[in-house]
């Protein structure tokens, strides 16, 4: 769907993007992750043709990105807003027409979305008369009205109350099921981890890593487990098999965090432990995207 090749963007002394390349598969949900100021918004603005890169190119379905593609992309910026004094209906009509919809089509679709989002009575209301959450709904509708193939959402859930955030999440997933490719940009990794198929991590203007979420997680597995057993009896590390990193005991249970030696399996550890204690629970400690992110970022920043 979207191929980003060696993008460089320089702002005077500050290099916002340094040779960033990415591929976003058609129909996928892609997470663009990174701390504030990493260059996510710069990249998104380039994809939206708001600014142009100093070098590198972007291909949309194999075609070099050009103004006619604007109507295929929907963009919900992090800094979002609406004309305060304009009526909701007129406003959506205007924004949809700017995206290239005809007036009639736009009207039909606005009505459709109004029904879907239960906001039929809002047409003549002004934005300043709506609550923050209601405004966010209008904003979301404005983003998807023209049925974009590619939906770019910058910090999509910030500012939504939990109920509306859930509603929007459902709508996004439905759009994705119907074939819309989605790019999430956020610094709050936990909010998108469950949604994204693929992610890219950006830090300090550079891409740190990218790939499928599961693959990345697997590659960061450290063979660590958490084992809980029903006793306060202490267990010691076993050379060549596992080391205990942490031991937490309550009156009735003990929780162990262990690292298994390379080449050994959890089954071997369990068969060692079973004769000693009664196992209640075993869980692999897979790093969250957040952990991976922190690890990558701190290791780079330390350099």
């Amino acid at each position: 769907m979207l191929t980003i090749n060696n993008i460089v963007k320089q702002y005077a002394e500050h290099r916002a993007l340094d040779d960033v390349s990415l591929t976003v598969e058609k129909g996928s949900i892609f997470g663009l992750l990174g701390p504030n100021g990493a260059g996510k918004t710069s990249l998104i603005r380039i994809i939206n043709q708001i600014t142009a890169p100093d070098s590198g190119q972007i291909l949309l379905d194999g075609e070099i990105l050009q103004p006619k593609h604007i109507s295929r992309i929907g963009y919900l910026p992090e800094e979002r807003g609406l004309y305060k004094k304009m009526q909701i209906g007129d406003q959506l009509l205007y924004l949809a027409q700017l995206k290239g919809l005809s007036k009639n089509d736009a009207k039909h679709r606005i009505k459709h979305w109004f029904e879907k989002m239960e906001m039929q009575s809002w047409w003549n209301k002004k934005v300043e008369d709506l609550s923050k959450g209601m405004q966010q709904k209008v904003q979301f509708v404005a983003t998807v009205l023209h049925q974009p193939d590619l939906l770019i959402l910058d910090e999509p859930f910030s500012g939504f109350d939990p109920v509306n955030a859930d509603l929007i999440k459902r709508e996004i997933l439905e759009l994705n099921r119907n074939g819309t490719t989605i790019i999430f940009s956020t610094h709050r990794m936990e909010s998108v981890e469950e949604l994204c198929h693929n992610i890219a991590l950006i830090n300090k203007s550079k891409k740190v890593l990218d790939g499928a979420v599961t693959a990345i997680k697997n590659s960061y597995r450290e063979n660590k487990f958490k084992i809980t057993y029903l006793s306060s009896q202490e267990v010691a590390s076993v050379d060549g098999l596992f080391t205990i990193e942490e031991q937490q005991a309550t009156e009735t249970t003990t929780a162990l965090r262990i690292k298994i030696m390379d080449g050994k399996s959890i089954n071997r550890v369990l068969s060692y432990l079973i004769p000693l204690v009664e196992i209640q629970r075993v869980e692999e400690l897979i790093p969250s995207i957040h952990d991976i992110f922190i690890k990558e970022v701190t290791s780079i920043n330390a350099k």
Binding site: Y11, A12, R45, N48, Q49, I50, T51, A52, P53, D54, P67, I70, I73, Y75, P77, E79, R80, G81, L82, Y83, K84, K85, M86, Y94, L95, Q97, L98, K99, Q139, A142, T143
Partner: protein, 441 residues
Amino acid sequence: MNKILLIIHREYISRVKKRSFLLTTFLVPLLFIGMYALIFYVALNNQEPITTVRVIDESGFIANKLTNTDHLLFVNTTEPVEELKSKLEKGEENTVLLIIPADVSNSQTVELYDTEKKGINTLNTIESKLSDILKSKALTEAGIDMKVLNSIKTNVTVKSKQLTVDGEKDSSVGAAIGISFGLSILIYLSLFLYGNQVMRGVIEEKSNRIIEVVISSVKPFQLMMGKIIGIGLVGVTQFVLWIILSVGMMGVAAAVIHNKIPETAITNNQQAITKENGNTASNTESYSKMQGIIESVKTVDYGLIMGCFLIYFVGGYLLYSALFAMVGSAVDSETETQQFMLPIIMPLLFTYMLSFSVLINNPHGSLAFWLSMIPFTSPIGMLVRIPFGVPAWQLILSIALLIIGFLLTTYVAARVYRIGILMYGKKASYRELIKWFKYKG
């Protein structure tokens, strides 16, 4: 529909639909006409009160020759001076005491007593009447017949004629100055007013945070130009409506005033005329002067002036509103605009100030020439000069420079604008603006 048209449409409709637009559109002409009506009304009804001049004529030959005017009533008296003075002191209103000494022909001095300062008109009238009488007396004493004297009384009016290639034509400096004043005020106010609207519009979009939503659909340049053109059209609409409404209301007002005039002014005049025949001369005199002014106003080429006003309004507006848009894009709120506004409005303000003195006194001098050529000052500089007659080549050159000027400012403004609108929380400085201008892409 083209996207820039959509933007123009929105900018235009959203402003024209505002209550404030309707209010100013209808109120301003009403206000103007109301002001004129008020002046007219005051002039008609609040005439100077009639002042009684008690005359003690010790010379004996003047008092019977003093003729009454609209405001002065001469009353001959022989009452003792002291008594009259004490009457005055007791607060007799609108009365003065004129004492003409016996040797007035030689001393040429009279005494006037009053309790309140009389207007300069009263003094002038009495003075000129007395000198006329004394002059006539001296002339008749020298043996000149009164009839001859009346026939050689002259009244000179300068009729200014301008020599141009088209031949001789009437021109009047007075009318030209009046129109110059009007135009420079009008263009200064409208450039400032509508430029400011552009700036506020940009700041609104920026502070509402809708800007990024919009420019993901259109180019920043389209948004900027759409806004500038849309607001410009609002301005043009307002002018056209003002003209139509003013003309319409003037018509109505004229009809109303016309109905009222016979009752007051004309009857007054007629009374005055029939009462004293001596007054007719001065009345017809002022009438012919009035006609002279009307004629000189007619000599001004309104087609040319209206055409030029429109060209310079549009050109000047495009030039300045681009700069206003640039300022709007660079700041987060209106309070921050101050530091950028001054240098932008300086040339305009400078020319505006000068237009009242230097430009009107010397409309063909080199300062006037340059001010009417430089695009930043020409909208006022040239408009002020036009009523005085400007060679065609200067006009064409000035307009060409203005067009080049606004293309240039629009280019510069657009480059700063496209970066500025996405910058939040950064305190913009001139250095920053130059940096933004240089950014690629």
